[in-house]
Structures are given as structure tokens and as C-alpha cells.
């Protein structure tokens, strides 16, 4: 029995949350049972991802799992390499505290028992789709998983019983479907000229025959970049993100900003490096476009975040800026740069969900949305503001926090890749990031507190915030094996080992 679980672990990590999501709707009345199931499955997913990561880390060879027993080009193949294990850990780790935070905290934002159960169903479906995205090695499977993630994200945004939520969800759905149609077009172009849907076979075929149809490869590149750019809110295509993430219930916006956006970036990373390969990327100068797009996104995202008054909208715009860092890192085609990108992706997932959960707790307790109204909240809600401060320190890249290691590797990577602009951009971006996050902390601690009795949210919410904040600090001080896993994932992406 045990051996059959460990051999089939790659599948269980993906289908466990999905199976629970299916049967959750039938016992919507016993809400305690529903919440218990959700947390149980999230913890199970975390242990599964941990076991997978450990034995990929030790054996250092990717686990190949042929779905349905059909070998690679015919059937769908799951390939758990260092990259998949890394992202599985990030997804599984972030979703446990977020589901803890959502326990009996959703009723005012989402509504009755039925609706909260459906919220959890969409939440688990998103978790399953993210795990699926981390694991697949098949192009069309990436499209179907991206579609499941899009629909569950839009469902989560529209689950809030406010009119703005429906409007934000509609814009989000239209833009995201535009993006995934472009992605399908890109997959179509790759499939037509190579005849393979499996990433490994498509890579060999593409690198063999790209000379005789360069424009098709160039069009496939641009379709993929614009399609995933729309979905992960790269700067010029980010219009839907601020409304969607501020209108969503706070656990939903935490998982949306923290993990869902990262899922699309991991798929882009996989397709760029596993299907096209870094030689083809440099041939078409795609890495320069990525660096340029990242630079524009960092500067413009940070400036836009500065101008926002509402707390959640400022955090949403900060996500647009941080996506710029990751896209910039993708353009640095060397080990240090990619390690920095992956580590920054993981640290941003943890930090942004801490910030959004803290913001959700503040808004739930005080009912105030704007930043200047949050005077003196630091003393009234100590744990929430402590988590928020640790998160903002981490995001600006102060040493001893996880953001610093990501940015440090990114700087080393850009040094290695030769051009200096990214270094200046990363530093300016960090300064801007401090400019839009530290005033919130200043207002919270050093302004006189009004008399109202704001107090910290419930017990489970406090555990969630503490768990996330401590992860930010631990990742900063002793990155150790996690950084090593990111390093190996970078080497695997560059096909060096």
C-alpha cells in the first residue's frame, strides 16, 4: 500500500485537492467538516510535496511518471525535476496558512454557508491546477491547467457579494481568456511545425528545424510572451489586476497574488527554457526583450503603487512591480540569474500573501480601506502589523529577509550577463518599494491611536500570519537547501546537468 502511494505520489499531489473539491459541495451544510477537510488536504499536499522534493533533492534525477502507462510522445508525461519540486513546495506551503486564515473568517465577505463551501471548492481547484502546472511536461496539458486556474481565479474574485467584484471578475475573465487564446495559438504554432506536444520531443525537433521556418518560431515566441504576459499582469497588460485583487476576499487575493500569478510565470519559464531552449532564446534576442519588459514593469509598477491611496490596491500594484523582477530575471540566461528569479518568486509568494492577509485582517477589524486612516494600528493589532512590517522589510530586500537573497542573486546574475542596467533597476526598484511600503508602517506605529477597540483577528488567523512571517525570516537567514534546490532547478533549466 505504502509503496503504491510513493510511486504514484506525483499524481496524488495533483488529484488529492481535486477529489476533495468534487465531493465538498454535497455536504455544504456542515461548514466545520468542510473547513476541516480543506485544511487536512492542504497539509497532506504539503507533506506530499515535501516527500517529493526530498527524494528529488537526494537522487538529483527527475522522476518521470507516464500517465496511463503510455510512453512519452504518445501519452502525457509528468516530469518532477528540481523546478517542479521547488514550485510544488511554494504552492503547498503558501496555501496551508491561507486556508487557515480563511477558517470562519469568510462569512462577512462571501456570505452564507453554501457560498463559503463553493469558495473552498474553487480554492482547492486552484491549488490542484497549480500543482498540475508545476508537474506537467506536456504542452496542451499546460493550456488546460491554465484554463482551470483562470476560471477558478475569476470565480474566487466574483465570490465576494459586492457589485464591484462582478465587474472586476468580468474584466479579469475577458483579459485572461484573451491571454489563454494567445497561449493556445502559440502551442498550435509549435505543434504544427514540430508535430510533438511533449516538451522534451518538441525541444529536440524545434532546435533541429527552426531554420526553415524562423517567422513561425518568432510568432510562437511572441504569442507565448504576450499570452502569459497578460495572465501574469506584465506591465502594459496589467489593467485587470488592481480591480481584481482589491475586489476579491482577502484569502482569495492572497492566493491570487501570491501563487496564481506565479503559476503562469512558471509555465512561461518552462516553455521558454524547456521547449525553445536558451540557445533559441538568444538567437531571437528574446532575453533582451524580457530584460526590457522587466525593467519597464518594475519602474512603472512601483510608481503606480506610490500613487495609490487604498491599501489593497497599493499591494496589487506592487505585485505588478514584483512580476517585473521575475520577468527581468528570466532574461538573464545564466545560473545565478535564474536562481535569483526562482528564489525571488518563492519569497514574493510568501511575502505577498503575508501582506494581503494582514491587510485583510486590518480591513476586517477596522473597516477602513485607505492608508492614512490606519493611524496607530500597530499598537492595537500587534501581531498583524508585525507580520505586515516583516513582509514589507522582506519585499524591499533588507538583508536577513528572504527578498534580499533573491535580489542579491539577481544582481550577481545581471553582473554575469554583462549589462549593468538591471542592477540599477533592481536598486531603484527596491528604493521605490521602500517608498510605498514604509509609510504604512510609519503611520501604523508612530501616529497616535484613536480610542476604537481594534484587536487582532481570531486564533487561526494569528497562526497563519505567524507561520508566514516566520517563513519570510527563516528563508532569509538560513536559505540553505531551498537555495540549493533553486540552484539545481536553474541548472536543469539551462540543460547543463
Amino acid at each position: 500500500m505504502i509503496s503504491s502511494i510513493t510511486t504514484n505520489l506525483p499524481v496524488f499531489v495533483v488529484i488529492a485537492p481535486l477529489f476533495v473539491a468534487f465531493i465538498l459541495t454535497t455536504f455544504a451544510r456542515r461548514i466545520r467538516l468542510v473547513e476541516g477537510f480543506v485544511i487536512f488536504i492542504e497539509v497532506l499536499g504539503l507533506t506530499g510535496a515535501g516527500i517529493l522534493a526530498v527524494n528529488v533533492f537526494i537522487k538529483n534525477i527527475p522522476i518521470i511518471y507516464q500517465m496511463g502507462g503510455w510512453s512519452a510522445p504518445w501519452g502525457i508525461e509528468l516530469k518532477i525535476g528540481n523546478l517542479s519540486a521547488f514550485f510544488l513546495l511554494v504552492v503547498a506551503f503558501v496555501s496551508v496558512p491561507v486556508s487557515l486564515f480563511a477558517v470562519n473568517n469568510l462569512s462577512d465577505e462571501v456570505g452564507g454557508k453554501e457560498r463559503v463551501t463553493r469558495f473552498y471548492v474553487l480554492y482547492l481547484l486552484l491549488g490542484g491546477a497549480m500543482a498540475g502546472m508545476a508537474v506537467t511536461n506536456d504542452l496542451f496539458n499546460v493550456f488546460v491547467l491554465v484554463e482551470v486556474a483562470t476560471l477558478s481565479c475569476c470565480g474566487l474574485v466574483s465570490s465576494r457579494n459586492r457589485p464591484q467584484a462582478a465587474e472586476a471578475a468580468f474584466t479579469y475573465l475577458i483579459m485572461a481568456t484573451l491571454g489563454s487564446t494567445l497561449v493556445l495559438g502559440g502551442i498550435g504554432f509549435i505543434y504544427i511545425i514540430t508535430g510533438h506536444l511533449n516538451m522534451g520531443f518538441a525541444y529536440e525537433e524545434l532546435n533541429r528545424i527552426w531554420q526553415n521556418s524562423p517567422h513561425v518560431v518568432w510568432m510562437a515566441f511572441s504569442f507565448m510572451l504576450v499570452g502569459f504576459g497578460v495572465k501574469s499582469a506584465l506591465f502594459p497588460l496589467h489593467i485587470w489586476l488592481p480591480d481584481a485583487h482589491s475586489a476579491a476576499p482577502s484569502p482569495a487575493s492572497a492566493i491570487l497574488s501570491g501563487v496564481a500569478v506565479k503559476g503562469y510565470l512558471i509555465c512561461l519559464l518552462k516553455i521558454l527554457y524547456r521547449v525553445f531552449g536558451h540557445t533559441l532564446m538568444q538567437e531571437f534576442a528574446v532575453h533582451r526583450i524580457l530584460v526590457l519588459a522587466g525593467t519597464v514593469a518594475i519602474i512603472a509598477g512601483s510608481i503606480l503603487a506610490l500613487t495609490q491611496v487604498e491599501l489593497k490596491r497599493r499591494l496589487a500594484f506592487s505585485t505588478v512591480a514584483q512580476v517585473g523582477y521575475i520577468i527581468l530575471g528570466m532574461g538573464l540566461v545564466n545560473i545565478k540569474g535564474l536562481t535569483g528569479t526562482l528564489f525571488y518568486l518563492a519569497s514574493h509568494a510568501v511575502i505577498k500573501s503575508t501582506l494581503f492577509l494582514a491587510a485583510g485582517a486590518i480591513i476586517a477589524a477596522t473597516g477602513k480601506k485607505n492608508i492614512n486612516e490606519l493611524a496607530g494600528i500597530g499598537r492595537k493589532m500587534p501581531i498583524t502589523m508585525a507580520a505586515f512590517t516583516i513582509g514589507s522589510l522582506g519585499l524591499t530586500g533588507i538583508p536577513l529577509f528572504s527578498g534580499f537573497i533573491g535580489k542579491w542573486n539577481l544582481i550577481l546574475g545581471s553582473l554575469e550577463s554583462g549589462n549593468i542596467i538591471p542592477i540599477a533597476v533592481i536598486i531603484v526598484g527596491s528604493v521605490l518599494c521602500a517608498a510605498y511600503l514604509f509609510p504604512i508602517v510609519r503611520v501604523a506605529y508612530f501616529e497616535p491611536a484613536p480610542e476604537e477597540d481594534w484587536k487582532d483577528p481570531g486564533f487561526t488567523q494569528k497562526i497563519a500570519l505567524i507561520m508566514l512571517a516566520s517563513a519570510v525570516v527563516i528563508l532569509g537567514i538560513i536559505p540553505g537547501p531551498f537555495l540549493e534546490l533553486a540552484e539545481r532547478a536553474a541548472a536543469e533549466l539551462l540543460m547543463l546537468r
Binding site: P73, W74, F140, G155
Partner: protein
């Protein structure tokens, strides 16, 4: 509003020019030895009967060779049903503020 539409029209024209060039460069339509009809589809056509015992090859692919895709497809339909119910069913219980 006008400038925005003109800008979008310009970008669309540029994109269509690029796409037309790519469409022209694709392997000619309807030729049996295009790269798409390689050993992957050969196996599906020849091996479907004894691999899956089903004469309809499309169903063989959908429900056996790539059954994982179809599972996620039913999940997409399930998500859409849940999302539709969660947006519209709110109307009765929680009064809109």
C-alpha cells in the same frame, strides 16, 4: 476614446502582418507528409484498435491515450458550473450593499 481605438488598430495591423507572414511559412495545407503527421499520429491511427480496442480513434485518444487532459476538461466544466452558481446564487441571500 478615439486615440485609444486608433492605437489598438495600429497594433492589430502590425500583429496581423506578422501573423500573415508566419501563416505563409507554415507547412502547406493538406499535404500528407507534413511534420504533424509523424510517428505520433501514425501510432494513433495504426495502433488504436489493438491498444484500446476502440474503432473511433478520436475517442481512443480522448479517453485513453490523453485521458488526463479530458479529466482536466471535465474539471474546467465543473469549475464553470461552480463559478456560475457562486456569482448568481448570491443574489437571493446576501442583500447587495
Amino acid at each position: 476614446m478615439k486615440i485609444r481605438n486608433l492605437l489598438i488598430l495600429l497594433v492589430a495591423l502590425l500583429a496581423s502582418y506578422g501573423m500573415l507572414i508566419a501563416a505563409a511559412e507554415l507547412p502547406p495545407y493538406g499535404i500528407p507528409d507534413n511534420p504533424i503527421h509523424n510517428q505520433v499520429s501514425e501510432r494513433y491511427v495504426n495502433g488504436a484498435l489493438e491498444d484500446t480496442g476502440v474503432p473511433n480513434i478520436v475517442t481512443a485518444i480522448v479517453l485513453d491515450y490523453r485521458a488526463y487532459d479530458t479529466m482536466f476538461e471535465t474539471i474546467v466544466l465543473f469549475t464553470a458550473a461552480i463559478a456560475v452558481v457562486i456569482t448568481l446564487k448570491s443574489w437571493k441571500k446576501a442583500g447587495e450593499r
